[in-house]
């Protein structure tokens, strides 16, 4: 079952809707290539696009090797050009069709500000904890049949009008509705969420429904991190009143509604921060880099 989006697999679930690129996002974490869901690693091994092209390159190399030596000259050159392109891709990991000038897969068209030096950035990278995505299986479903024939399904129509299905790897939960729409939650990265959604769709296929995989979209991303020092929430709500809501009668954390990017942060006295509301992981990183200097301002208090 293949996705029928026009976006290449690499950019799926990562890019905001077409045309909604947020301009001027600085690359504040040079070690963390966007949208690959990875801890710092050399760029070559992380890009799904580059893996596909790597496979193509290997196939071509094998094809080239099998050719007789008489055609070596032409083969060599035809084998050369793709290689050049691939190696370039491998080091800079751009979207296809864009000139790979900067290592910025997320916003290839926008001017890139130079990476901020490590001393200015916080050095802390929020960890993704949950991704919520949706996909349209494109056909009506009989939930009773699914609940009957799948082991990992739960269905209580009186309580909730959807089948709750779970798989072990990636460890996720899906809500499958009779309209054919599905919600997938619990993944720790965009790629895992898509892989999980594809597995659910396969289960539904094997149960006899003509399931497709339409309009896969990441709806929400949740991240968390720890600044490692306690925070005076009462002070923060005083200086940032327009963005903050701190009601200890209701909830021990401060709710900070950041405007740019549009992210909600839950800030706790222990220094732990939860960030949510992102459609792409860059928003989480940007929101944290915005809040970190503000939080540091509340560090030295008696």
């Amino acid at each position: 079952m293949d996705q029928n989006n026009s976006l290449p697999p690499y950019a799926q679930g990562l890019a905001s809707p077409q045309g909604a690129m947020t301009p001027g996002i600085p690359i504040f974490s040079p070690m963390m290539p966007y949208g690959t869901g990875l801890t710092p690693q050399p760029v070559q091994s992380t890009n799904s696009l580059s893996i596909l092209e790597e496979q193509q390159r290997q196939q071509q190399q094998q094809a080239a090797a099998q050719q007789s030596t008489s055609q070596q000259a032409t083969q060599g050159t035809s084998g050369q050009t793709p290689q050049l392109f691939h190696s370039q891709t491998l080091t800079t990991a751009p979207l296809p069709g864009t000139t790979p000038l900067y290592p910025s897969p997320m916003t290839p068209m926008t001017p890139i500000t130079p990476a901020t030096p490590a001393s200015e950035s916080s050095g802390i990278v929020p960890q993704l904890q949950n991704i919520v995505s949706t996909v349209n299986l494109g056909c009506k479903l009989d939930l009773k049949t699914i609940a009957l024939r799948a082991r990992n399904a739960e269905y209580n129509p009186k309580r909730f009008a959807a089948v709750i299905m779970r798989i072990r790897e990636p460890r996720t939960t899906a809500l499958i509705f009779s309209s054919g729409k599905m919600v997938c939650t619990g993944a720790k990265s965009e790629e895992q969420s898509r892989l999980a959604a594809r597995k659910y769709a396969r289960v539904v296929q094997k149960l006899g429904f003509p399931a497709k995989f339409l309009d896969f979209k990441i709806q929400n991303m949740v991240g968390s991190c720890d600044v490692k020092f306690p925070i005076r929430l009462e002070g923060l709500v005083l200086t940032h009143q327009q963005f903050s809501s701190y009601e200890p009668e209701l909830f021990p954390g401060l709710i900070y509604r950041m405007i740019k990017p549009r992210i909600v942060l839950l800030i706790f006295v222990s220094g732990k921060v939860v960030l949510t509301g992102a459609k792409v992981r860059a928003e989480i990183y940007e929101a944290f880099e915005n809040i970190y200097p503000i939080l540091k301002g509340f560090r030295k208090t008696t």
């Binding site: 697999p9 799926q12 869901g37 990875l38 801890t39 690693q41 091994s45 992380t46 799904s48 893996i51 596909l52 960890q127 904890q129 009957l148 024939r149 799948a150 082991r151 798989i167 720790k188 990265s189 965009e190 790629e191 895992q192 969420s193 892989l195 594809r198 597995k199 396969r202 289960v203 094997k206 149960l207 968390s224 490692k228 020092f229 306690p230 925070i231 005076r232 929430l233 009462e234 709500v237 005083l238 009143q241 327009q242 809501s245 701190y246 009601e247 200890p248 009668e249 209701l250 021990p252 954390g253 709710i255 509604r257 706790f268 006295v269 222990s270 220094g271 560090r299 030295k300 008696t302």
Partner: protein
């Protein structure tokens, strides 16, 4: 000719819907019950009118609309630093606190209201006013009666101390005030009152005992004991949670000095016995302190040379949740194999089939569930 009210003759009221009229009247009644200044009433009513006409509130349930009025009064009070708690408003409205909370948060967001934090000092005064310990009453023994001014003053100081030592941030304010009031009350006449437990105190005073108050009391006593260990003339006594109460007056008087000496400020954590969680070996002396011999810093253990942190293990001044961290629930960062997932991996049939029931299983399940 009878007098006609302006609102009637000009048809002012007819222009408003009945729901709006009723809501406005409820807001006005609330303000009267709470004895709020008249300017509050005008502000609250204007918020209410704005809110009810806002698209997100126009169609909410009647139950929520009823709470909306209370939320507007609540917001008005907070903006004027009038210490009204949500608990009070909820009990006046007979509202479920969760529902009130959700209406309040939506109101704050949709109308973009900035609501200042609750003023703890004012809340102390208001809360203590409801204590029945200041006038002679039949069931209260004479030694339990207390002077209101003295008690308010001391409770304020204890609450301030709690605030400085991270006991207030993120916590519900009322239990802290209850615990602080209890300690202040005990300390003003220890011989007669030390034997009275917190529950009895609350009953006599005619106030509810909020469940977290016991924990707050415990935390306050810990802080006071740490401070007492730094006061030279108290160190001779082996103070415990009961006896330290007798000296709260002294401790409060010298609290600035004592706080500095009893607790390590955050930057000096390395000097203290307990470093912050996750830190490496504690016991690094700061430069300039005469730590004899450079040995291995780890072996130094609790610093013997740090000028502040000697004798006993002064703990870092941190919120209680950081001093006693609960067991880590979150797993570590994603493993390398997790990170390599691209989302495009081929999915094997066998993997999917493990989730499907075989035909006999389906039959058995059908029988068990009694489905057709």
């Amino acid at each position: 000719l009878a007098e006609v009210a302006y609102s009637q003759s000009t048809g002012q009221r007819e222009q408003l819907s009945r729901c709006l009229q009723r809501g406005i009247r409820r807001v006005q009644d609330l303000c009267k019950v709470l004895q709020l200044p008249t300017v509050f009433e005008e502000t609250a009513v204007s918020y209410f009118q704005r809110a009810v006409q806002h698209p997100s509130f126009r169609l909410v349930s009647l139950e929520k609309k009823e709470l909306l009025g209370g939320c507007c009064v609540f917001v008005t009070c907070r903006q004027h630093n009038w210490p009204l708690t949500m608990g009070t408003i909820c009990s006046l409205l007979y509202a479920k606190q969760e529902l009130f909370a959700s209406v309040y948060l939506s109101l704050q967001k949709e109308l973009e209201l900035s609501v200042p934090a609750l003023s703890l000092a004012d809340l102390v005064k208001t809360h203590l006013s409801s204590f029945r310990l200041f006038q002679p009453v039949a069931d209260i023994p004479a030694p339990f009666l207390e002077d209101k001014e003295k008690m308010v003053a001391r409770t304020m100081q204890v609450v301030e101390l709690a605030s400085e030592t991270w006991l207030v941030t993120g916590r519900h304010p009322v239990p802290i005030i209850t615990a602080a009031a209890f300690l202040s009350w005990q300390s003003l006449q220890p011989p007669a009152r030390l034997s009275c437990p917190l529950a009895r105190f609350c009953k006599l005073a005619g106030i509810d005992l909020p469940p977290p108050a016991h924990l707050r009391l415990k935390e306050l006593l810990e802080i006071l004991l740490s401070m007492a260990s730094r006061l030279s003339w108290l160190r001779v006594f082996n103070l415990d949670k009961k006896t330290v109460v007798k000296h709260i007056g002294d401790l409060l008087q010298h609290r600035i000095f004592l706080l500095k000496n009893a607790f390590c400020l955050e930057g000096e954590e390395e000097q203290c016995g307990k470093g912050s969680p996750g830190e490496g070996s504690p016991g690094q002396g700061s430069p300039g302190e005469g730590i004899p011999g450079q040995g291995s810093p780890a072996a130094q253990g609790r610093p013997s040379g740090g000028k502040r942190c000697h004798e006993g293990s002064p703990r870092p001044l941190l919120p209680p949740c950081l001093i006693k961290p609960r067991k880590r629930l979150r797993t570590a960062a994603p493993s390398a194999s997790d990170s390599a997932i691209t989302g495009d991996e081929p999915i094997s049939d066998s993997e999917i089939e493990q989730y499907l029931r075989g035909p006999e299983e389906v039959r058995a399940f059908r029988r068990a569930k009694d489905w057709p």
